[in-house]
Structures are given as C-alpha cells and as structure tokens.
C-alpha cells in the first residue's frame, strides 16, 4: 500500500475536514478571536489529524502489503486465507472473515469435484476390466473358429478401449504407474506384435536400432505410447518405420521415424494439443485429435519430454527423451 494511494482514498474525508475547519475559522472570526489564537488552534487540529492519519496508515499498511504479496505469489490463490494473519482493525477483520468463508466453500467444492472425478475414474477402470472379458472371449472364439476377419475388428475395439483407459489415467491426478528400468526393445516388440497384422497388410517394414537399452519408465504406458505412434504411422501412409535409441550418460533419446505424408509446418506446433486434427486429420484419415494429446500427457506425467519434427511428404519423427535419475543410474548399469 503506497502512501499516495492511501491519501487518495482518504481525500473525501480530508475535503470534508478542510471545509468544516474553514467554517470554524469563519465562526471564530465573527466572534473576533485573535489571529494568533486562530493559527495556534489550526496548528493543533492539523497536528492531531496528521498523527491520527499516520497511525491509521501504518497500522493498515503491513496487512495490505502482505495480502497483495501473498496473492501474487500463491499458486492456489484460494488458499489465501491460510497465509494471512487477522489484523486488529475492523475492515481487515471483515475481509478475513469473508475470505475464510469463501475459501472454505471453494475447498469444499474442489473436494467434491475431486471425489466425483475419482469415482468416475474408478468406474472407468472397472468398466474396462469388465469389457475386456467379452473382448478376450471373442478373440479366442474368432481364433478357434479360424475366422481371422473378426480378429481385426476385435483389435480395433480393444484399441479404442485402451484409448479411454489411458485418457482417464492421463487426466486424473492419481499416480498409478511405476517407474523402473524397462527394456526398450521388449516393449517395442510386444507393441509391434499387437499391430502385426495391420502392419503386414499395408506392407510396412519395421527397423529397430540400438534398442537394447533400459530406460526409466512405466512399461505399460510406454507400450500404449508406441501403439499410438504405430497407429499414426499406419494412418498416415508410412511404408517404413525406424525406431532407434541413443544412450548417453545423462539421458536416452528415442527416435520414432516414419516415411509417411508428414505434417505441414503450420500444423506442427499444435499436434500435441487436445482435439487438434490439422490438415492431415481432415483430408487423409478420420482423426479425433486425441492420440498425440494423450501421448503428450502421459509423457509429461512420466517426466519424459516429447517433440516432433517433420517434412511434408517426406518424414515424421517423434523424439522422446528419457531422463536418468542418479539414484537409479548405478542399479541400471548393473543390470
């Protein structure tokens, strides 16, 4: 709280005081009070007013200063009430009471939404477990009856189910992953196996280079990420996919490169945004704009950085950087 602001705020009071004092002076003058007496009385009144105003100012300043500073610094501003002390003056007390009430109601609201999201998420997880049973049965029936036509559609259903599952997982705050050393090659091979028929039908060749490294991640989540990238390559007409890793003491960089139609330069910065479909999504394949968004969210949660590079009509390369934690680095090299 600056002095100028305070004085400006008090201006009406000062003006009223000045006018009142002028009337008092006129009154004194009509009663022939001497000029000296008038000056002395004015001096006393002025001094009194100055002391009162200074005291008022100094008493409020620390409270408001603290209030403004906390508001600026706080990440969750609705917790402001917890951060300030109740002052001695009336307005401050009222403000604190009001803040306390409104913060409390805000926290209750947030807690309620959190409970609802959690319940929703739990239900989705449960539902996914349930729906996977008939899908698994269908897959076996189709295999046992030797009807491969069904298998592809069943795989599609399974892929959509996984999307829902990982979308909910990426959106909620709960931690349900484990970061541990994961062999890149194994995870990629498992995912490739899942998509084998699709890849072979479209004559897409896979190459892997230097994938015999371990990275710190959650293998299930990484498998889902690989699955999304493979689906994208299939969707955008790649005929070759090369997955390689570069291992340095600080980090492992994974490159997932395909020779598909590529991404137009003006779309490239937005591909990880929610519901972004872009030119390719509109003209080439049905796109929901969710795949890469979920991938990015999962990477963020796992602490991997992800970026994309592309030349239209030539290639698309997705890079994922896996950090190495010093704490685990020793164990990793021993494995």
């Amino acid at each position: 709280m600056r002095l100028r602001d305070y004085l400006k705020d008090r201006l009406p009071a000062f003006l009223t005081g000045a006018v009142t004092w002028l009337l008092v002076l006129i009154f004194l003058y009509t009663f022939h009070v001497s000029a000296e007496a008038c000056v002395i009385v004015t001096g006393i009144a002025l001094a009194g007013a100055c002391i009162a105003e200074s005291w008022e100012f100094l008493r409020k300043k620390p409270f408001y200063d603290n209030l403004l500073q906390q508001t600026e610094q706080l990440d969750r501003k609705y917790l402001l009430h917890e951060m300030i002390e109740e002052p001695a003056f009336f307005e401050g007390k009222v403000l604190c009471d009001v803040l306390r009430e409104s913060d409390k109601s805000m926290c209750e609201q947030i807690a309620q939404y959190r409970r609802e999201t959690e319940a929703f998420r739990d239900y989705i997880e449960l539902w996914v477990h349930e729906i996977k049973l008939p899908v698994a049965s269908l897959q076996l029936i189709s295999h046992n009856d030797g009807n491969a036509k069904y298998a592809e559609q069943i795989n599609r259903i399974d892929a959509y189910i996984e999307n829902v599952l990982y979308y909910t997982r990426s959106e909620t705050a709960e931690k349900d992953y484990i970061i541990k050393p994961v062999p890149l090659q194994r995870v990629f091979t498992d995912t490739a196996l899942k998509h084998r028929t699709e890849l072979q039908e479209r004559n897409i060749t896979l190459h892997t280079e230097n994938l015999n490294v371990q990275v710190m991640t959650d293998s299930k989540w990484l498998g889902f990420i690989f699955g999304q990238l493979i689906s994208n390559s299939i969707k955008y007409q790649a005929s070759e996919i090369t997955v390689s890793a570069e291992d340095t003491p600080e980090q492992t960089v994974l490159r997932f490169r395909d020779n598909g139609i590529g991404i137009p330069p003006h779309d490239l910065p937005s591909i990880f945004e929610k519901s972004f479909t872009g030119e390719n999504g509109r003209t080439h394949a049905k796109s929901t704009g969710m795949g890469l968004y979920i991938v990015k969210k999962l990477c963020d949660k796992l602490g991997h950085s992800i970026s994309a590079e592309s030349e239209q009509g030539n290639y698309t390369e997705i890079r994922i950087v896996f950090g190495k934690n010093d704490l685990y680095a020793g164990n990793l090299s021993k494995m």
């Binding site: 897959q139 295999h143 046992n144 599952l165 349900d176 992953y177 541990k180 084998r196 299930k220």
Partner: protein, 221 residues
C-alpha cells in the same frame, strides 16, 4: 501330453481357452467350482497353470502365494488389470509370466511353450531331429560330419516346427514367433527363409522334411 489347468471364472473365456489349448496339443482341465480352489490346484498335478487374478472369493495373488509354498509348477497369470503395479505384484507372488486380456491366442501359446521349456530340464540347448542334432547355442544343424549353420530366423522357424512336429504350423504362427524375437520380417522374407531352410535340410539329406499344406501352413515330418 502336457497338462494345463485353467482357473478362470468367466465360463465362456475358460471354455474357449480349453478349446485353444486342446487344438494346440495340450490336455486342458478347467476348474468350475471355485470353493476350495487351492486344494484343487494341488490335486490337479498339472504341468502349467493359467490363473485369473479376479476370482470369486479369493484373489489370484493370494492363491498363488499359498500355492508357491508347496509347489514349483509354473503359473501364468491372466488378467484384465493393466497397470504395471499389478504385474510387479503378480511376479513377486511367484508368477512365471503375466498376460493381459485380451490376449493374442498365438502369443499366449508361445508364452506357454516358453514357460514350459524354461521349467523343463532340457537346458542343454541341444535337440534331435532324426539323425540331425540341433544346437541352438551354436545355431547349427549337424548330421554326422556334415554341418549347416542356420541364421537366427531359420533357427526360430525350425525350432517351432520341431516343437510341434507332425502338426501343421501356420504362417501366422511362424510370423508371430519371428516378430516375438525382434525379427520383423514380411511375407516374402518368410517364404525365402523357409526355402533356404529346406535347402539346408536337403544338404543334410532331408530334402522333404518340411511339407507345405496349401492355405494351412507347414508341417515337419
């Protein structure tokens, strides 16, 4: 014939699993009454157990922990739970492998045979086909003094055919086995590999060892 015990409370799934295993040449036994599963598990005397995690009354993990105190029979956990946490938990309870539903049937069969092979005592890496000695360690076929070196792909193909000798192995099965070993071959490459393998077998004096069954697959006589 290897006997596999299926502990799965979803009836259709359990039946279809049994069908799959029987057609792959295993003896399949299903548990249908889930009270006292632990005792049935012991009594069955199976070579391998497929165990669902979500069972009525008891969790698969608890069941497995108890079972492990008395038996070393390999167990593969089947589950629709998909988090890494579940997998780590299962493995720490003593599971030999962990497969999530829905499973690719071919991969499931591959995993089963891999687990059976690991638990069996044939750890020497040497198998026989007629007079041919198959050494996976050396990657070679030896017949008397003649020796043929197989590529990794040819060895994977030959091993699968040998494992299911006398049965038809589909191209799909072969492809899955190759991909499972990080060899992402295509249709043409598979044909080339098979004809090279035939050539090498012919050199050793077995020109007609691999029979082609039209639209079905291959059979090692």
């Amino acid at each position: 014939m290897k006997k596999i015990l299926i502990i799965e409370d979803d009836r259709v799934l359990s039946e279809e699993l049994a069908r799959l295993l029987q057609s792959a040449g295993y003896e399949a036994e299903r548990i249908t009454e889930f009270s006292g599963v632990a005792a049935q598990m012991q009594k069955a005397d199976a070579d391998l157990i497929l165990l669902d995690i979500n069972l009525p009354e008891i969790s698969g993990e608890t069941l497995l922990q108890e079972f492990r105190r008395k038996s070393n029979t390999p167990v593969i956990m089947l589950t629709s739970r998909t988090t890494e946490i579940d997998e780590v938990l299962s493995m720490s309870c003593g599971a030999d492998d962990y497969i999530t539903k829905p499973y690719n049937p071919t991969i499931l069969l591959l995993r089963i045979s891999a687990v059976l092979k690991r638990s069996g005592s044939s750890g020497s890496g040497v198998q026989q086909y007629g007079e041919i000695v198959v050494s996976t360690v050396r990657g070679s076929l030896t017949c008397g003094k003649r020796e043929q070196i197989l590529t990794k792909n040819e060895m994977i193909i030959f091993q699968l055919l040998l494992e299911r000798r006398g049965e038809i192995v589909t191209r799909d099965d072969l492809m899955t086995a190759l991909w499972d070993n990080d060899e992402f071959v295509n249709d043409n490459a598979l044909s080339v590999n098979i004809s090279r393998l035939r050539g090498k077998l012919a050199e050793l004096g077995f020109p007609d060892a691999i029979e082609t069954r039209k639209k079905q697959g291959y059979l090692l006589k």
